[in-house]
Structure formats: structure tokens, C-alpha cells
């Protein structure tokens, strides 16, 4: 039976570790946003070896499991002199893994900008960098914001994976509580509900954002 009193007792403990989950999500996503943009621009480079190498890296990371990558960062990197805290390792792993997905999202946004926009920018003598920042990206990004938002939610729901590299986020907290009290139901239920409460309204928000953005131009 569900022990309500016990649930109320452990709730503050789980909520306290929610901070770690949130930090891992946003820091990882920020890294993925920046790295993803860099990857998508590099993959469009006119220097062939650069674009090929970029595409190869993206392909490799996308086709290997996040968990394996996390293990590599946390357990293998120290052998080569890079030792990271669980949180930093988790942020790095999430950021790198998702950057390869986000680079695809950016790419679709960039390719939807008509070629004539590049030509008009060139005729006005914008440099390539100015063309990216003033003309192409401001058109490429608004339509993909909802997709980016959905990746943020997906990533949020993937953070329990970080418990595998000893990060004490909310799932790990619930597991520790369970191990100490032999009561798993309450803790895991609370974790599930927390994820739902945060994910669902966010996805609704993104949907309404989508409608508003697509009205603009």
C-alpha cells in the first residue's frame, strides 16, 4: 500500500536533489545548443576535410548509446588525465550527445532559408560571418525553436541516466531512500510525478509558442 505519511516525509529530500537534475538539464542543453550550432556551421564549411570530419563525428556520436559515452567520460577519461565530477561529466555527456541531434535541427532550419537570401547578402557585401549572424540565423532559428524545446524536454527526461555515473539526482535519491527503508513505491512514484509535472506543461507551452512564432512573418 502507498504510505502517504512516508511519501510526505521523503518529498523534501527528493525535491532537494531536483536542483541537480535541473542544473544538469539546462547546463547540458546550453552546451548542446552552442556545440550543435558550431557543428552545423562546420558541416556546411566550404573546406571539404572540415565538413567531412564534422559529419563523421556527428554520425559516430549519434549511433552510439549515451550511456556508453557517459561511461567513457567518467571512467575512461581519468586514465588519460581528465577526471571530472559526476555532475560535470554528466553535463558534458548530455551536451555532446544532444549537440549532434541539435546540429541536425539547426541544419534543417538553415537549409529552409532560401538561397536567394545568401545572394542578396553577398550583393550588399555582407561578409560570410555577417551573413550568418544578421541574415541566415535570424530566419533559421525561430521556426526550429519548438523542436529545440522538445529536445530540452527529452533531455530532461534522460537525466536519470546520470545516476549510472554516481550522480545523485532525483531518481538516485529515491533509490537510496528505497534501499534504506525497503520502500521503493513512494519514492519512484514521486520521481515519476515530478517529471510529468515539469514536462507536460512545458510541452504545452512550446506548442503555443510554435503557433505564435509561425504567425509572425
Amino acid at each position: 500500500m502507498f504510505d502517504w505519511k512516508f511519501a510526505v516525509n521523503i518529498l523534501p529530500k527528493i525535491l532537494a536533489s531536483l536542483k541537480i537534475t535541473i542544473v544538469a538539464t539546462f547546463a547540458g542543453f546550453f552546451l548542446a545548443l552552442v556545440l550543435g550550432l558550431v557543428l552545423s556551421i562546420l558541416s556546411k564549411s566550404r573546406i571539404k576535410p572540415v565538413s567531412r570530419l564534422t559529419n563523421g563525428v556527428v554520425l559516430f556520436i549519434r549511433n552510439t548509446p549515451l550511456l556508453v559515452q557517459l561511461y567513457f567520460i567518467f571512467y575512461v577519461f581519468p586514465e588519460y588525465g581528465l577526471t571530472l565530477e559526476p555532475l560535470s561529466a554528466g553535463i558534458l555527456g548530455l551536451g555532446i550527445h544532444y549537440s549532434t541531434y541539435l546540429s541536425e535541427v539547426y541544419r534543417s532550419g538553415i537549409e529552409n532559408v532560401p538561397h536567394g537570401q545568401w545572394e542578396a547578402a553577398k550583393a550588399l557585401n555582407f561578409t560570410r560571418m555577417e551573413t550568418w549572424t544578421k541574415i541566415i540565423l535570424p530566419q533559421a532559428i525561430p521556426p526550429i525553436l519548438p523542436v529545440l524545446g522538445n529536445y530540452l524536454i527529452t533531455m530532461f527526461k534522460e537525466t536519470p541516466l546520470l545516476s549510472a555515473i554516481t550522480l545523485v539526482e532525483i531518481l538516485q535519491t529515491a533509490k537510496i531512500i528505497g534501499a534504506g527503508s525497503f520502500k521503493y513505491l513512494e519514492g519512484f512514484t514521486i520521481v515519476g510525478i515530478i517529471f510529468f509535472i515539469l514536462s507536460y506543461p512545458s510541452s504545452r507551452l512550446i506548442k503555443s509558442l510554435d503557433v505564435r512564432l509561425n504567425k509572425k512573418f
Binding site: G116, Q117, E119, A123, F126, K134, P138, Q139, P142
Partner: protein, 261 residues
């Protein structure tokens, strides 16, 4: 006698896409302040000629000179090599272009479309850029549309904004690539009027214009010289009266007869 040097010189220019030869060895000069209209059938290579000059495409062989300087090449140790982006950037300063499909920036208002390049490219202050932009927008008759986004404009209005956007950069050479071909017939007039005003009044009086068009009456009205282009070569050229009233080649005669029916 004073010899005037050409502002633009195409020297044995060819352009091919795979096996398709679009330009077959063009020698062609345009003089400062001259208004040249390029006419000819679709797919004859007219547009490519302008695109090479705007550095949107690279010639397959031959050279182009603008104001006596090589456009696509640099001389290093007496050898011609393909120019670096820095050189092209320098050369583009004097050239502006108006496209068939306008290519306005959809995420910017009319005012921002026109003032963005002066700020970003010329490094003009925001205040000065706004002043210049408004002047140009006024010139094309759209001062009441300053804060509107392109999606709310008609085709003719879009093209007029595109003209203002190019003019505000004060190019010495303006290229018009079929500026009215994408417009509904009832909107052609307003755009031609604007171009005519620039050509006649001469904006900065000595602006050189290369106009690619299918509007024969218009070409006759504003051009100093008409160049008839077909299948990648210049077939015939001369003053508007010469060319339209007294076409010498059968190809031009056939081409013109299609417009006089």
C-alpha cells in the same frame, strides 16, 4: 581626343555548367555612366553575365575588369590566380544588384531591410543609416511603409524596397536582373517608373546601369545602348534606334517580331 576608359570590361569570358556552355567567349565593355540594356531570349546567358559581375558565380575562363582592376583574379608574381575573398569583398563595394525575385529579408521591416547593410557593412551610425534609408525609401515612394514586414507588401512594392536597399549603398554600378519579370502586369509600371527616375535623374548622375529586361519599350526609353544576346554570344549591339528600327541580323529580327505582334 580624350579616351574614356571602360568601367566594366569582360575579356573572353566563358561560363559552362558541365557540358552546357552558357557564355561562349564574351568581349564586352561598358563605359562610366552608361545605361546598357541587355535583351535576348530566356536562357541566352544574360543573367549569368550579371551574376559573374556580382561575384555570385565564377567565370570558367577569361577575366573581368571593374574600373581597371581584375575582379575574379589577382596577379601574384606576374601570374593570374583566383582572387581571395578579401579582394572580392573590396571589389563588391562598387556594385549593387536588384534581383528578379527581390530577396528582401523577411525578418526585417522595410526600414531595417534598407538600413541594415549601411550599418553592418559600411559601419554607418544608426542615426545616419536611418536618415539615408528613409531618403531612399522616400525616393521609391514607400515612406508610409517603413515599419511593415515584406510579407505585407505587393510584388511591386517589394521590388521598390529592394531597389532602395541596393541604392543606399551608393554603388557606382547597378545591375537589374529582370526586375519586373516576376511581377503581375499591373505592377510592372510602378517599378519601371522608379528605375527610370534613377536612370534619368541619374541618382548620383554618373551611375552605370546594366539592365536585363524583356520590356522593350522601356529599354528603348532609358538605355544609351542595347545589346542583343543569344545562345551565349553578343549578336548585335547599338543605339536603341538603330537596333529596334533597323535590326541587321535575322536572329534579332525574329526576336523583335515576337514583341511587335
Amino acid at each position: 581626343m580624350i579616351t574614356i576608359k571602360p568601367i566594366i570590361r569582360y575579356n573572353k569570358i566563358t561560363k559552362a555548367y558541365g557540358d552546357l556552355k552558357v557564355l561562349k567567349g564574351i568581349d564586352f565593355e561598358i563605359y562610366p555612366g552608361e545605361k546598357v540594356a541587355l535583351i535576348g531570349p530566356s536562357g541566352s546567358g544574360k543573367t549569368t553575365l550579371a551574376r559573374l559581375l556580382m561575384t555570385l558565380e565564377e567565370p570558367s575562363s577569361g577575366t573581368i575588369e571593374v574600373e581597371g582592376k581584375l575582379l575574379w583574379h589577382e596577379k601574384i608574381n606576374g601570374k593570374l590566380v583566383r582572387a581571395k575573398e578579401k579582394h572580392l569583398h573590396e571589389m563588391r563595394k562598387d556594385i549593387g544588384m536588384v534581383f528578379q525575385h527581390f530577396y528582401l529579408f523577411p525578418h526585417m521591416t522595410v526600414l531595417n531591410n534598407v538600413m541594415e547593410a549601411p550599418i553592418t557593412v559600411l559601419g554607418m551610425s544608426k542615426k545616419e543609416a536611418k536618415k539615408q534609408a528613409e531618403l531612399m525609401i522616400k525616393k521609391v515612394g514607400l515612406i508610409d511603409k517603413l515599419n511593415i514586414y515584406p510579407v505585407q507588401l505587393s510584388g511591386g512594392q517589394k521590388q521598390r524596397v529592394a531597389i532602395a536597399r541596393a541604392l543606399v549603398m551608393k554603388p557606382k554600378i547597378m545591375l537589374f536582373d529582370e526586375p519586373t519579370s516576376a511581377l503581375d502586369p499591373e505592377l510592372v509600371g510602378e517599378v519601371l517608373d522608379v528605375i527610370k527616375e534613377i536612370a534619368v535623374e541619374g541618382n548620383d548622375t554618373d551611375m552605370t546601369m546594366l539592365l536585363i529586361t524583356h520590356e522593350m519599350d522601356f529599354a528603348r526609353e532609358i538605355a544609351d545602348r542595347i545589346v542583343f544576346f543569344d545562345e551565349g554570344v553578343i549578336v548585335e549591339q547599338g543605339s536603341p534606334d538603330e537596333l529596334f528600327d533597323n535590326p541587321k541580323t535575322p536572329r534579332l529580327q525574329t526576336f523583335l517580331s515576337r514583341f511587335n505582334s
